[in-house]
């Protein structure tokens, strides 16, 4: 049967593959064709793997033998900061342009074990620093809904690949909204799991106390399938948690109770199209019988400065490993110290260097208490605020981003306005709580219909409520 990529989901593909309507080989071919047509304009992929059809053939044998797993034969795109053995992994940086991964990340081992098809590696902001994929050393990823606009970031390539039907699903990583915001811009679903739910072994560290790997998919059901496949305790990542670590308990008798931080949404600067899409989502939840409560999150005003202080601080220490000695680019200087300087100057982009400098500054003696310690205190206060709110609601709803996708180049010289993009998403990273972005509503700009995302945040360990409420909304 002909394959309609526009309407394809993991759930549907599984049915068709299992009854033999088409093969994993056919499906992989269909995606490769689509990538051939679209990738030169969108630049979602940095590389298409040369063994796609080979793995599709292996998946077909597994399916024929009746041993198919949920992801056998499902074509998936992988963000360029997740290691796949013997494939390049560059984090969209010049310093790792020719780096070949010596081992599989745990999430990759799990996907391979199920027989998923890894299509290629996707573009991103260099080392996951940015909000638009404009910080990639290999060119911007453009939005599939309007090529003049950004795909969001940092997992822009992954979100654009799924949004443009160049992959059935993708993995991204989320440090401050890097899965959810691009998912919102590209009209797809993106999940940031509870901190520790998914192993980060083999993920290049950006901000270790925030980073989580998350799925980007077309539907909530697909998102859940990928999440179930990649989650779980991993002895190689000491921060991983088990399903028993948290015991979330729903307060709402029938349906989860939804809290809306009303005053936070009235801070101004939110696009009218986003405001009306959010109001429609609220109405839809009400019509489906959900109780809506207004909530206060007064510490939210500290979230952005605290988030960025901690981001800079952790980035500056995590980036120290790119020294030009053990792997990656090496530029020879006058002596050993000059080697570091030359290598890092040639290999790292503007935003990465900016954050290393700022991080070193906020951690330096004399400023440590004013910045880093203050940020940690604010983080604790915000987490306590959220935990308190979750005594009276089950879900917190906000828009995912303050506006639809902006134009390429629009914010490139204004880092602070780019940082403000993350205002709704960072609290889930500061608190470690799970959050999902759901495509809901559109807004017309210059003749193009741009997607809007609604974000739901839940208690630690309560992805289930995000999936159930999310599936009902869209």
């Amino acid at each position: 049967m002909p394959i309609d990529l526009k309407k394809m989901t993991i759930v549907k593909a599984r049915e068709h593959l299992d009854i033999g309507d088409f093969s994993a080989f056919d499906l992989a071919m269909a995606y490769l064709d689509e990538i051939n047509k679209k990738n030169k304009d969108i630049n979602a992929y940095l590389e298409i793997f040369d063994d796609v059809l080979e793995s599709a053939g292996e998946a077909d044998q597994k399916i024929k033998a009746g041993r198919a797993d949920p992801l056998t034969g499902i074509p998936i795109a992988i963000k360029d900061n997740i290691l796949i053995q013997d494939k390049k992994a560059s984090s969209a940086s010049k310093i790792l342009e020719n780096y070949t991964a010596p081992y599989d990340a745990t999430v990759i081992s799990k996907l391979k074990k199920q027989g998923a098809i890894l299509l290629g590696r996707t573009n991103m902001d260099e080392f996951a620093m940015g909000s638009s994929t404009e910080n990639s050393a290999f060119g911007v990823t453009r939005n599939p809904h309007d090529c003049n606009r950004v795909s969001g970031g940092t997992s822009g390539g992954s979100a654009a690949a799924v949004g443009a039907d160049m992959a059935l699903a993708a993995l991204g990583s989320d440090t401050g909204g890097s899965v959810r915001q691009p998912a919102s811009y590209c009209g797809v679903v993106g999940l940031k799991p509870t901190y520790g739910a998914v192993s980060r072994y083999g993920l290049m560290a950006a901000v270790s106390s925030f980073d989580q790997i998350g799925p980007i998919t077309k539907t909530v059901a697909d998102c859940q399938i990928i999440f179930e496949a990649i989650r779980g305790v991993d002895p190689k990542d000491g921060t991983t948690i088990s399903e028993k670590t948290y015991k979330p308990k729903q307060i709402g008798k029938n349906k989860p109770i939804i809290g809306i931080p009303r005053s936070f949404l009235n801070i101004g600067g939110i696009d009218p199209g986003v405001v009306s899409a959010f109001a429609l989502a609220e109405d839809k939840f009400k019509a489906m019988g959900y109780e809506i409560r207004d909530i206060e999150l007064s510490s939210n005003k500290y979230a952005l400065p605290a988030y960025y202080i901690l981001n800079f601080a952790e980035v500056s220490s995590n980036m120290a490993r790119y020294d030009g000695i053990r792997y990656g680019l090496h530029i020879d200087g006058a002596d050993g110290i000059a080697d570091y300087g030359e290598t890092r100057r040639a290999g790292l982009g503007r935003e990465v260097i900016r954050r290393i400098l700022l991080g070193t500054y906020v951690l330096s003696s004399g400023y440590y208490d004013a910045y880093y310690n203050k940020a940690n205190m604010a983080r604790k206060m915000i987490t306590e605020d959220f935990l308190k709110v979750f005594e009276s609601v089950d879900v917190i709803a906000t828009p995912t981003a303050p506006a639809p996708a902006f134009k390429v180049g629009e914010k490139i010289d204004d880092p602070v306005s780019l940082y403000l993009e993350d205002v709704f998403t960072i609290t889930a990273n500061l608190t470690g709580m799970p959050a999902i972005s759901l495509p809901f509503g559109r807004v017309e700009r210059e003749g193009k219909n741009l997607p809007i995302g609604i974000q739901l945040i839940a208690r630690h360990g309560d992805e289930q409520t995000l999936f159930s409420a999310g599936a009902e909304l869209c």
């Binding site: 780096y99 070949t100 010596p102 081992y103 002895p235 000491g238 500290y302 952005l304 400065p305 605290a306 960025y308 202080i309 030009g324 000695i325 053990r326 792997y327 990656g328 680019l329 090496h330 002596d335 050993g336 080697d339 900016r354 400098l357 700022l358 500054y361 906020v362 004013a370 910045y371 310690n373 203050k374 940020a375 940690n376 205190m377 604010a378 983080r379 604790k380 206060m381 010289d413 204004d414 880092p415 602070v416 940082y419």
Partner: protein, 71 residues
């Protein structure tokens, strides 16, 4: 870098949280995670794969410039 001052101004907003007496240092929830002390890879192919990525090497060694010089 003119953006530096703007960014520092912005993140300094945190220092305006006056009167928040309840602000105390975060005490993270920590637990010790110990791994079994066993040799996992004896074939040496791990080492080979890692060495393949080293930009400057001599045989099986990572080559670095002399750090301490004798006068």
């Amino acid at each position: 870098m003119k953006e530096f001052d703007r960014i520092l101004d912005y993140i300094s907003e945190l220092n305006d949280q006056r009167g928040e007496a309840s602000l105390t240092l975060a005490r993270p929830r920590l637990a010790n995670i110990a791994r079994k002390d066993t040799v996992k890879n004896t074939s040496g192919d791990d080492r080979e794969r890692l060495l393949r990525e080293v930009p400057r090497k001599e045989g099986e060694f990572v080559a670095v410039k002399k750090i301490i010089a004798q006068d």
